[in-house]
């Protein structure tokens, strides 16, 4: 057509300079904004450092700890108080070092939390996006499944499943949890997807010939990314505590597997609460600090997301 013939000749150099100029004018990306926002907020920066350091620490250190040796009982060290013998944080009723269990336990618990967050968020996001985008019968069917899952009494179902599965470990446990933790995300994502789908840029993509799945994941998803990030951060904070509750009831990880939950479960004996506080308190404090730090980061993330929206409004 006319336009093609009219095309202005352009040398590669010219193109490069133009590109360069354009890049200078380019707006910072969302990640950059987020990073700046976090950098500007000292508590958030500290939180981020804490969380990242904690995750790295508990992921790397256990590689140098002989877990089976650590978990072997030494009945002579029964409930050694902190700073006695070689026990920095004391020992539990099995004479096992609390400090070491805390490290390996954090790895297990944080691992479960990360795994759970990744799996459940992935399911939830995909579910919400697909359900919200396609609407109609697809949505209807998916919503029925959602309704059904919502009806299930979660804790009870998890307990029953854990009881059935004889030989479970952290992976199985993560999978079981994941079955029940995607609905919140999916609901959130679905409602945002519904409103996002009504926006004209989706229509524009359709008329531009883009395929549905590409529209869902490449067009819509980036637009709800701030929501996704905020939701994921907050569910991560929440998920750290998920395993502990069940371990407390005795349906979490098996006793030989150290975890924050099995450590905190030491608090189920009122004697331990005061007399042998070191058996559970460090784990509880760790959870609180991690959870607070992550929620704080989540807040900053959501603020950053809002800020970029505000900027977008002008």
């Amino acid at each position: 057509m006319v336009m093609n013939t009219k095309s202005t000749e352009m040398s590669p150099e010219e193109l490069a300079t133009l590109t360069e100029q354009a890049k200078q004018e380019a707006a910072p990306s969302a990640t950059k904004i987020l990073w700046q926002e976090i950098k500007a907020d000292r508590p958030a920066l500290i939180s981020l450092i804490i969380v990242v350091a904690a995750i790295l620490f508990v992921m790397i250190t256990p590689l140098f700890i002989n877990t089976s040796k650590m978990m072997s009982t030494d009945i002579l060290a029964y409930l050694t108080p902190p700073l006695h013998d070689h026990f920095l944080l004391g020992a539990d009723a099995n004479g096992r070092s609390i400090a070491m269990q805390l490290i390996v336990g954090s790895r297990n618990s944080i691992g479960i939390a990360i795994g759970l967050t990744i799996i459940s968020s992935t399911i939830g996001i995909a579910w919400g996006l697909i359900s919200g985008y396609f609407g109609g019968y697809v949505d209807w069917g998916m919503q029925r499944v959602y309704d059904f899952m919502m009806m299930l009494p979660m804790t009870m179902m998890i307990i029953v499943l854990v009881t059935i599965i004889d030989n479970y470990n952290s992976v199985t446990l993560t999978l079981i949890f994941s079955l029940f933790y995607w609905m919140g995300t999916s609901r959130l994502i679905r409602s945002r997807t519904l409103s996002e789908t009504k926006k004209d840029y989706v229509a524009a993509s359709i008329t531009s010939g883009t395929k549905p799945l590409k529209i869902i994941f490449r067009e819509i998803m980036p637009n709800i990314s701030s929501l996704i990030i905020v939701d994921t951060t907050l569910s991560f904070a929440e998920n750290i505590g998920v395993e502990t509750g069940l371990s407390y009831l005795g349906f979490g990880l098996p006793p030989q597997t150290p975890s924050l939950g099995t450590l905190i479960a030491n608090a189920n004996d009122p004697n331990n609460i005061t007399q042998y506080w070191w058996t559970w308190l460090p784990a509880a404090i760790e959870i609180i600090i991690l959870c607070l730090a992550i929620s704080y980061i989540g807040q900053v993330v959501s603020r950053a997301a809002n800020a970029s929206q505000r900027r977008a409004g002008k």
């Binding site: 919502m150 009870m156 179902m157 307990i159 608090a267 929620s295």
Partner: protein, 318 residues
Amino acid sequence: MWKTILRRILIMIPEIILLSILVFLLAKAMPGDPFTGSINPRSSATQIEHLKQLNGLYDPWYQQYWNWVVHLFHGDLGQSYQYHEPVTNLIGDRAINTLWLSAFTMILTYVIALPLGLYAGKHDGKLPDTVIRIYTYVTYCIPFFVILVIGLWIFGYVLNWFPTTGSVSPTATGMWMIGSRFLHVLLPGLLGALFGTVNVVQYMRSEVIDAKNSDYVRTARSKGVPQKAIYKHHIFRNSLLPIAAFGGYSITGLLNGSIFTETIFSYPGMGMLFIDSISYRDYTVITALVLLFGILNLLGTLLSDIILSVVDPRIRVN
């Protein structure tokens, strides 16, 4: 309206059937059976075998399920293996305790959370807001059961302010009984409320902020309505609406929480019954409880939707 409710209830039926099959199968899939644990030299092994047969534990699952359904339609959920009592009676007793505890916790939660949320929303970004938000975040991050255990220890044992076990004092009679029941749920309810407010506070806060910045509030101000009245008639009322609906949804959370609360406070409700029944493999009770909790969840959602449609004229019409 009634038609909508009826339709919603109809929608629930297949879900409930599905749940009943699922839970029935899962219960049977647990290793062991109600008689596995009852081994002691005072009961004889052959008699236990006899009892298993008598209870149809060797029938194929679909037959057991079918029998169960048939009985269900006669209002009979079977006998508890552990309590040797009809499940309906057993759960009936426990349900009252759980509902009483949950209702009390819920009321306290709202009593605490609504003013906090309103206050935080009214002064958003200012000091009280920050304080309230820190409070909610901290409570959100502390594992619920840790709070319960510590609270029980401090207020129940050290200070000896509250009873530490059961749902009512055995000596209480008449009016005292109500007082005693109240006293027994006071501590768990209070702890549950103080540490369970986060959702309601956050929700209320954001609703208030939204309402505060809404156009209709601007309209009200342009009518010359004083600030106080605006909060009362417009902001509070409009923010309360979604919160009211939240109540039904929060039933799920309360029921989940009851498992912990009841175990820790030795409060004989459905949550504790469930944990007991799991280790006893009391199929009939497990099935009935999961089903009941499932139905309560459904009803909670339904209730929320009904509340919403009653209070929100926008929904009432369609």
